[in-house]
């Protein structure tokens, strides 16, 4: 089954690069996405299909991320159709092919149970997504792509080194050296501690770069700022979730090795640091897409913080992976609409979005309230759960810092978002023909409904999946 999920999108990517017409090609996206999601759901109902080989296993975290990315991609693909209709002037061959390829490699990431294979897959996501950032072919987009590629590759290289260290950690103790996840988990307690620690550091930095944790986040505002909104949504919801999944697996091994005391210190530090950096750069931010990038940095920090807090906060963290991904969808897609409608992303020109684009403006505002953890939206449940976890773990200082940084971020983000949506469109704001079509607004509404749904009612299956993840991570070998 894994092969279907992984290869089908790649095949479709090949098809896409073969198809001639722009609009036909764009329709391949929703087609593939729908079938992919359908297959995923089918697999999720059939536990016997979840183990293909020793290397390709769909463990509970993988299931969660696969489902999230599948949903995200489906909605984004519909949006992409609408978006590409507005961008008829340039060929979307590379764009569609890369998007589909991305779906394939992401599936590979979620399935892979071999750290080396996972590394390969994640590096592949970097390469596949680079052309997406470059879609606009402007000088700025080249610059963004360059930074994304260089910084990302360096980080990923470190992750490779870390993977080798991990392998050596098992080799060193005379165990037969392996990178398959199962064996590492089984032999975790015997792994050589110094190598394990070094490996964890390198992997944290490496995959942290991909997640965009401070201070490795530097590529993020540029990439998110220059890429089209739909790409931003896929980055903030999909790529980061994959990187987090990788980090989660590493954390799992260290946890199984009984090293959580050591790891949690680093994780807490990085998490708080990321939130702080995000806050620093969000206050007084005049470019609302860069602001969203920093918000993504902040939420990666929250995830890592939850991981660092450990057992009590794991449920909240896992839920936050989902809620954050979905809410980012709302924010980036609506921001994309606003950006197109004003042909600018600086709040000096963009005013009164609620008047020019009533739907996108309101959704942007709602998304802001959601992502900052206001009830009754989804992120509230997860962030509140993480906070409770911090209290339960007796980490009061962490909890206090967490709340304080949430406030800083709220102030920074709120000032910018209200500037964008409220008031009258300013005089120097260029008027563009862009208006909210069905395909560019319906997906955003769908995302928002999901966010609201997660806030007031978490479907039982999803809840069960999350509990599985927590139980899975808690297993001490």
């Amino acid at each position: 089954m894994a092969y279907v999920l992984i290869l089908m999108p790649l095949v479709m990517a090949a098809v896409a690069s073969a198809v001639g017409s722009n609009r036909l090609r764009s329709w391949l996206l929703p087609l593939t996405a729908t079938s992919h999601l359908a297959t995923t759901l089918f697999v999720l109902t059939r536990p016997d299909l979840m183990t293909t080989t020793k290397w390709l296993v769909l463990d509970p975290p993988g299931r969660l991320v696969l489902l999230l990315v599948g949903t995200l991609f489906l909605l984004c693909s519909f949006y992409a159709v609408g978006y590409l209709q507005h961008r008829q002037e340039r060929s979307n061959r590379v764009f569609c092919a890369c998007l589909l390829g991305f779906l394939g490699v992401v599936s590979l990431v979620t399935w892979s149970h071999h750290l080396g294979l996972m590394w390969v897959a994640i590096e592949a996501t970097t390469l596949v997504t680079a052309p997406l950032i470059y879609f606009n072919h402007t000088q700025r987009s080249i610059e963004a792509t360059w930074k994304y590629l260089l910084v990302g590759s360096v980080g990923i290289a470190l992750a490779l080194l870390g993977t080798f260290f991990l392998a050596y950690a098992s080799l060193h103790e005379g165990l037969e050296s392996t990178l398959t996840f199962e064996d590492l988990l089984r032999t975790a307690p015997q792994l050589s501690k110094p190598w394990l620690h070094a490996a964890f550091i390198l992997l944290l930095v490496g995959y942290g770069t991909k997640m965009g944790l401070a201070p490795m986040h530097t590529w993020k505002p540029d990439a998110y700022g220059e890429a089209p909104g739909v790409v931003g949504a896929i980055f903030a919801g999909g790529v980061t979730s994959c990187a987090f999944l990788a980090l989660l697996r590493v954390y799992h091994i260290c946890h199984a090795a009984g090293e959580s005391a050591y790891t949690s210190r680093l994780l807490l530090f990085i998490g708080i640091f990321s939130m702080a950096v995000a806050g620093l750069f969000m206050v007084g931010q005049r470019d609302f897409k860069r602001m969203l990038a920093y918000s993504s940095v902040e939420h990666m920090g929250i995830l890592i913080l939850g991981l660092g807090i450990g057992a009590p906060a794991l449920h909240g963290t896992m839920l936050h992976v989902v809620t954050n991904g979905v809410t980012k969808g709302v924010l980036f897609l609506s921001a994309g609409n606003i950006h197109r409608a004003y042909a600018s992303k600086s709040i000096d020109q963009v005013r009164g979005a609620m008047r020019r684009l009533p739907l996108s403006g309101s959704l942007f505002l709602a998304g802001f309230l959601a992502i900052t953890g206001s009830p009754p939206f989804g992120p509230f449940i997860s962030e509140f759960a993480i906070l409770n976890g911090a209290f339960e773990a007796g980490r009061f200082v962490t909890a206090g810092l967490f709340l304080f940084l949430l406030l800083v971020v709220f102030i920074g983000m709120g000032a910018t978002v209200l500037q964008v949506v409220q008031g009258r469109p300013s005089s120097e704001a260029r008027d563009t023909p862009y208006r909210e079509g069905f395909f560019v607004s319906a997906p955003v509404v769908a995302f928002m409904t999901l966010v609201l749904l997660l806030g007031v009612y978490i479907p039982a299956p999803l809840d069960a999946m999350i509990h599985d993840v927590v139980r899975y991570l808690e297993v001490q070998r």
């Binding site: 071999h114 080396g116 294979l117 590394w119 390969v120 590096e123 592949a124 970097t126 390469l127 680079a130 470059y134 000088q139 700025r140 080249i142 610059e143 963004a144 792509t145 360059w146 930074k147 590629l149 260089l150 590759s153 360096v154 290289a157 490779l160 080194l161 080798f164 260290f165 392998a167 050596y168 098992s170 080799l171 060193h172 005379g174 050296s177 392996t178 990178l179 050589s192 110094p194 190598w195 070094a198 505002p221 540029d222 700022g225 220059e226 750069f281 931010q285 860069r290």
Partner: protein, 213 residues
């Protein structure tokens, strides 16, 4: 066996320093190519009994690292009409010294990491760490885009050296995957470098600072 290996590794280290000391980019690329080829050959040294796949892998590695990638880069260099890395962030001599310091640090730090007994005495770990650090030095002190690509290559070489420690551990598929990723990565980067060259009519990364806060 180990002695030969160590000898090779010392040559690699010397190459690192020469990379830091050269300003002509063509020479730098050639050095990296030589380094890559040399490293690609190492598996034959460390492996107890080389099997066909291993030899195959070695061959691929040598071809990629020693011939194909440098070729791509040299093409890019030719399109860019630049000869040498002028005014790097820090001068050549200081960067050599920096590299030397990095190497020393690597040697000292490597002692902290316990080695499996059958690897004892091999310079693999310090050499790999040193090469990684040299790669970082290149990445952080050179302004020309191509020089940074070279730095990235050196970084990868360093990791490759460490990979020798677990030549048995890593399955061939992963090995190949890594090489493939490296290759595609360099390829994509070079494409971007070309685009930069066309868009900015220069390879100076100091011009790529329009995106900032």
């Amino acid at each position: 066996m180990t002695n030969l290996l160590n000898a090779v590794l010392v040559i690699v280290l010397v190459m690192n320093l020469s990379l830091l000391g050269t300003s002509r980019i063509l020479a730098v690329i050639r050095t990296v190519a030589a380094q890559g080829a040399l490293l690609g050959a190492i598996p034959l040294l460390v492996h107890k009994n080389p099997t066909i796949p291993v030899v195959l892998a070695t061959f691929v590695a040598i071809v990629l690292k020693g011939i194909v990638i440098p070729a791509i880069m040299i093409r890019a260099l030719r399109d860019a009409h630049i000869k040498r890395e002028v005014e790097p962030l820090i001068g050549l001599l200081p960067s050599i010294i920096l590299g030397a310091v990095a190497t020393t640090f690597a040697l000292l730090f490597a002692d902290q990491l316990p080695l499996a007994d059958h690897h004892d005495g091999a310079l693999l770990v310090p050499a790999s760490i040193a090469t990684v650090l040299v790669g970082f030095v290149l990445l952080t002190t050179r302004y020309k885009a191509l020089s940074q690509v070279v730095g990235y290559l050196v970084l990868e070489n360093g990791i490759f050296i460490f990979g020798m420690l677990l030549i048995e551990a890593i399955p061939l598929v992963v090995e190949m995957g890594v090489l493939l990723d490296l290759f595609v990565g360099i390829f994509v980067i070079c494409i971007i470098v070309n685009h930069i060259n066309r868009a900015f009519s220069s390879m100076d990364t100091r011009r790529l600072v329009s995106l900032k806060d």
